[in-house]
Every structure is written in structure tokens, then in C-alpha cells.
Subunit: 409 residues, 2 copies
Amino acid sequence: MNFQQKLEEYAELVVKVGLNIQKGQPLLIGTTTDTIEFTRLIVKKAYEAGAKRVDVNYTDEVNARAFYDLAPDEAFHEYPKWLAMQRDELIENKGALLWIDADNPDLLEGVSIDRISNFQKASGKALENYRKAVMNDVITWSIVAIPSEKWAAKVFPELKVESQMEALWDLIFKVVRVGEGTAVQKWKEHISNLESRAALLNAKRFKKLHYKAEGTDIQVELPKDHIWLTGASKNAQGVPYIANMPTEEVYTAPLKTGVNGYVKNKKPLVYQGNIVDDFTLTFENGAITKIEALIGKELLQELTQTDKGAKYLGEIALVPHESPISASNVLFFNTLFDENASNHFAIGEAYPTCVEGARGLSHKALEQIGINTSIVHEDFMIGSADMDIMGELEDGTMEPIFHKGTWAF
Amino acid sequence: MNFQQKLEEYAELVVKVGLNIQKGQPLLIGTTTDTIEFTRLIVKKAYEAGAKRVDVNYTDEVNARAFYDLAPDEAFHEYPKWLAMQRDELIENKGALLWIDADNPDLLEGVSIDRISNFQKASGKALENYRKAVMNDVITWSIVAIPSEKWAAKVFPELKVESQMEALWDLIFKVVRVGEGTAVQKWKEHISNLESRAALLNAKRFKKLHYKAEGTDIQVELPKDHIWLTGASKNAQGVPYIANMPTEEVYTAPLKTGVNGYVKNKKPLVYQGNIVDDFTLTFENGAITKIEALIGKELLQELTQTDKGAKYLGEIALVPHESPISASNVLFFNTLFDENASNHFAIGEAYPTCVEGARGLSHKALEQIGINTSIVHEDFMIGSADMDIMGELEDGTMEPIFHKGTWAF
């Protein structure tokens, strides 16, 4: 297949499998002005699949940076109402939401932490209804990515400029299983494999996971009624979709107060256009009580202080170290890819779908059953080739889940 | 000045004179993905001038066309609520609105007239509050333009592709008085000249205008308390701005029921991405009673049937045939330019600011004093080198206003 054919296959995959657009459904796309050509393909295929109306919110990263550099301080305490209403209207109309990510990992490097943090809080509050819809699989949502020049340069600094984009395209096509005209079929098999793995974990009813690796020794309790899920979800109408492409994880929610020990990150975390790296978090009864970090410590501290739930975990996910993305041995500086190359945790909000009967519960009710809530949800990568994970059963028996970075069963 | 310097001067002119951005004011920009570089300049200069937040709605014309070609019929009867709310929020926050036009004049050629008309009606209803704010100078609003490839190709089909953009840039710079670093000063003088002309007309208190030219013989009554205005406006806070750049007109509102005769267009009208041309409209007691047209007749008929006010006039504007834009002898296929090269009328909504005491009145109250209201406002060009306009004074005396296409006094 030539490049254009691969693009078409990718766009088709996103519309048919990722979003699974239904007749008459509206679609909202959030992306940057770096993705215009690909976004056009998605828009066309979405209409062909029956979408009623497709809106695209284009963000220009140059203008976004200008906002952080030049706007007055008070601008960071407000979030436009219309942006929240746009998503509420989409939810009301049972629409689908697609993020086409092409972000420059260094976009907000050097920006005042206060501005980032204040705006994060303002947007978090304004988008509460939307976040609830996403976290509970009320609407269809999906995140995919394509290269931009700045991002490709970050991933492949050793290549010549003209080769950087090509290399990142090739790699993305590969990890989303595009390039042989069989992507839809391959995704069916892939999701089926992930779901078998989740079913095995669900049958075990582990009460606690013990993680050990260089720099990491941590125990994570699971809620009694936890559910291991995959990237394959169903919206409130029962229509299946894939929230992340690629996706290699099975994940669940930890018991909010049941995390003890310390964990070291193994890949950088790109948070709000800044890189955070070489950090160790220490947990006591679920709460982060100590943060050590060589890069981005101040931002990481701000993140964990965003609200009450921002110092607790909301997700634990298992990804074997030999996943296709990990095997590529490339650092993407992009969570969508790096989280699917590595076991990871998420700081902040848990998915209520990960606990039997919790879907749609209020924040208060979730907290009462030990499920964390927050306006943030930030994945960070902890997996490595030396990681062992043991599962503790109800009766105290220990069973290996991961051995040397990959599935032990 | 080199091209980049001219761009800077143009952007500065738009932000400082067109919008006259005030400290803490939000700005909303509506434009297409063809203007990214220029829009970045505007955004930067707006923040430097004190804007609190700048949002840009980028429309991609390829996606816009895909909507008209591929969306289901029912999509054209709805308009997103969030788009209306975005403008209402801007009005509430005393913001400014900038349109950066780069439209392809043939964008919707061949699209079903029903779809265009239905969507025009849906958007017109949804944006009623916004339209009232614009028509009454409640908020700052401005329309400017820069070339796009498709538009430049339409204006200069005889040039080679690489020269088309350059030629249109040169011409736009010229007619907006950019290129010698003195644009702000030149605009001050220019507006002052236009205001002197409006003052002369206002002093006359004409009760009727008689237009004569090849294909045209029409009489237009004016409301007793009419006001001739220029492109220089003041928003509800008294801050001056320029609603159109370029602007060469002085304009007022006709008495809704006082238009009789026939008028022939002298430049094509680009309406909803389609060209309408070679048409004659016949008026009786203000209403269009006959439409003849060689190009775009069906669309023109639809336009005049959009609502009750769409078959009446809302604006008459005087522009000498030797205006700088007219002197360029270029047909722009863009109302912003072509209307400023020619005497013109507008079908539809009148500006309440054109009648003493009418600013802010309800539609009902406006109709009672003979001022037209509608969800449309479409300028069409009627001026030519042979046009004579006589003004009839209160006592029946006739005075020449235009002779052979230009000012008679």
C-alpha cells in the first residue's frame, strides 16, 4: 500500500472501529491545525458512515502558546462556557467525540506553572459534566494520533528533518495495525485477545497486587467488585467503540486508600506541554506522601495538588513489556503510545466502569465505596523488563501475574 | 516594505484601528484554515494590545463542502446551540468579533438550493441575538480579508498560479492603505473624509433618491429621521471601530415601503458560495415583485423568500465609481471589496443605527417606523460610470447627488 492508501485505511479504521459512527450521529473532532489533511479524510468518511454533522475544533499550537505567554493572569481562572456547552450538547445528542492528537510534547515548556495549574482547574470545573460522560462510557469517545513536525522531531532527533515525519508515520501505522488492508480484522482479533486476558484476571478476584522492580516496591489493593477492562467499550446505547488507538492494556481501578509503597517512573510523562521525568512517588494508605523528581518536580507537585483526589490513584493497567509498541523501542513522548508500551498507573479520577454497579454513581457515592474522583486523570509509565507482579488472592495465596515484565500466565 | 512587514502593518491596522482592542477584552475570530499564518499575527497583536482571551473558529472549506454534499437532509434544519452561545457569551463579555475572509467564491457551486436555504434559515433563527448586537453596534465587529488560492485564482484567472496570490495580496494591501508604514494615519484621514461627506448628506434631509443608469430607474424614499453613516462605528461602550476594511461607503436605511422602480446589478453577487449575476429586480411599494436573472436565479429567489423582510431593502450606500477599489478595475467576487467599488443596495435587515432613536428597538417597533427587519442582509452592486442620482428635498426641489457615477457636490 502507498502512503495515501494507508491514510485511507487508518481513517476508515478510526471511523468504523474506533468511533463506530452510527446513522444520524453528530461527531465533534478536537485537533490541531497540523492535522488538516487527515482530518478531512475522517470528516468525509464520517459523513459517508451516516454522521449528521461533523464539527472540528482546530487549535493552533502557536496561538495556544501565545495565550500562555501573553494573556493577562485573570484569563487563566476562567474557561469559556461555550466550550463546555459544545460538549454538553454533543452528549445530549448522543454524539461521538474524537481527539486527533499531534501535540508538540514541549509546547508549554517554560510557561509559568501557576498559569498551567489555574487553567487546568478552571477547565476541570467547567467540564465536569463532560468528564462524567467520558469516564462512565455515556458517549462514544476515541483518541488517535498522527505525526506533526515538532512531535516527530522530538521522537527522532537523530534523523534528518524530512525523514522524521516519515518515520513517525511508519511507526504509527504499524502500531495501529494499518498497512495491509486488514486493519479492521486485525483489531477484532486483537480486542478478542485482550478481552480473554481481562476475563482470566476477573475470574481470579485478586484482592491485592504486589509490584516489584528496580526503584519500585508497591502494593495496590483492589475493590472487592473490581472489573478488569480493555480499550473496547460500549456507550450508553450499547454501541461498541475503542477509546484509544492503539490500545494494549487491561486496566481496573485501585481501592483509593489501599496503595502503599513507592514506585519509580520508567518513561517520561508529558503533562500540559511539559516533560516530567525521573520521579519516584511514595504512597501511604493511598495518598502520595513524598515526591522526588529530577525533571518537572514543581509541575508534578502542582498536578497532585489540583484537588483532593489528585494525590490518589485512579487506574492501574497491565501491558506486557513486549507489546508491539514497546518492541519498537521508541520513546513517543505521548501518553497514548507510551502507556501502551508499559504497565502504568494513573493519578486522579477512576473509571466507575471498573467497579460492578458503580457506573453513573455520583462522586460522593464513588468515594464512599473507595473509588477515587478528581478533575485530573494522568497516566504515568512504571513498567520495565525486570518488573514482577504478584497477585494476592482472597485467602492470602500469592500467584504470579507478571514475571520479568510480561504475563506469567 | 517587504511582504512580512506589510503583513505586520496590516495585522496592526486590524487590531488597533479595525477592532481597537481594549485591555481585558475577549476576541473571537471566525476564519478558514487558509489564513493560519495571518491569523497567528492577529492573535499575537491582540494579546499584546491587552486582549484577555482570543478564540479562533477555523472552518475548513473542504469539510464545509463535505457537509453540504454528504450530510443527511435533516442536518440542514438545525444549527448547533453552542455556536449561538459562543457569540452570546462574547456579547455578554463585551468582546470583539473579527471575520478574516478568504472565501472561495465558488465553494457551494452546484449544491442543492434547498440545503443552502434551509441552513440559512436555521442559522438565521439561532443567531438572532447576535445579529441584533451587530446591527445595533452593541459589540465591536469587523470584517477583513486576505487571499486564498481558490479566491486568487478566481480573481486573476489569466495569471500563472504562483502569481495569483501575489497579485491579490498586492491589491488588498493597496486598498486597505498598507505598504508605506502610514496605514493608521491614512485611515484617520480617510474616515474623516467619509464623515464629512455623510455630514453633508445628513444636512440635506433628502426625502427621496432617484437613481438612473443603464437598466436602472428606481426611487427610494428615506425615513424622516434617517442618518447617513460611514464604516466608522462606536460600540455600546463608546469605543470606535471599523466594521469593514476596506470601506468607502456612506450608507443609510431606506423607508421599507418607499422603493419603486427597477434596478440592474453591475457586479456579480457571491451569495452562499454561489455566483448570482445579470439580474434585474423590480420593486413596488418596497417589495420585490419581479426577479429576472441569467445566473443564479433560483438562489436569488430563495434569498428573497427567506422570511417576510427578505424581499425589502435594508440599506442604500453611496460609493463613487472612482473609489480606489473601483479604479483597480478588478472584480473581486467578494462583497467586502466589490461593494466598496460601487453604489449598492442591501436586501433584508436595516441597521437601526441609521435612524435617529431606533438603536436597540425591537423588530416590531422597527417595522412600525418603516425600518425593515430580516434574518438576511445581502449587499448587491448597482453602481456604474453612467449612474445619476438626484435627491428630492422636503419641498420637492431636486438636487444632484451623483453625476456620471460620482459625487455631484
